[in-house]
Subunit: 88 residues, 2 copies
Amino acid sequence: MDIPAWRSKIDSLDEQIVQLISQRAQAAKAIGDLKRTANLPVYEPSREQHVLNHVRAANPGPLPDAELLHIYERIIDVMRTLQRRDEK
Amino acid sequence: MDIPAWRSKIDSLDEQIVQLISQRAQAAKAIGDLKRTANLPVYEPSREQHVLNHVRAANPGPLPDAELLHIYERIIDVMRTLQRRDEK
């Protein structure tokens, strides 16, 4: 495969990644609403640690765990902001 | 759905996201090898702009574009590091 062919594959992967991140955001929003109703805090360190451990365990490579977690720290950060923004 | 049910859905989405990010990394690695052979630079601002525009166009919500791009800036950054690390 040449560079344009790999890039076309990346574009297609990105479309799927965007769909899944958006579904994840939808779920985070739903959890945010439930937390608000139950007066639970948005920030739950033990749940965030679970997510990071789960991602590390699922990593097939070639990214080193640290780099994948670097991406996930950003994902978690954005989802936390989303849950907070919806607070009345 | 209650909070544990949404979290179980998130765990399953994360497994799929990790697989796709890993496939994306595999493609980025292949492009890095081809660039090296052809003496092309790792950093190509016009390609990175294309990726961000493509992601913005594919965004179905609920994340605002800015938040999704915030995640993608991290993904691009990690992929660029991966391409550089493999330089001999």
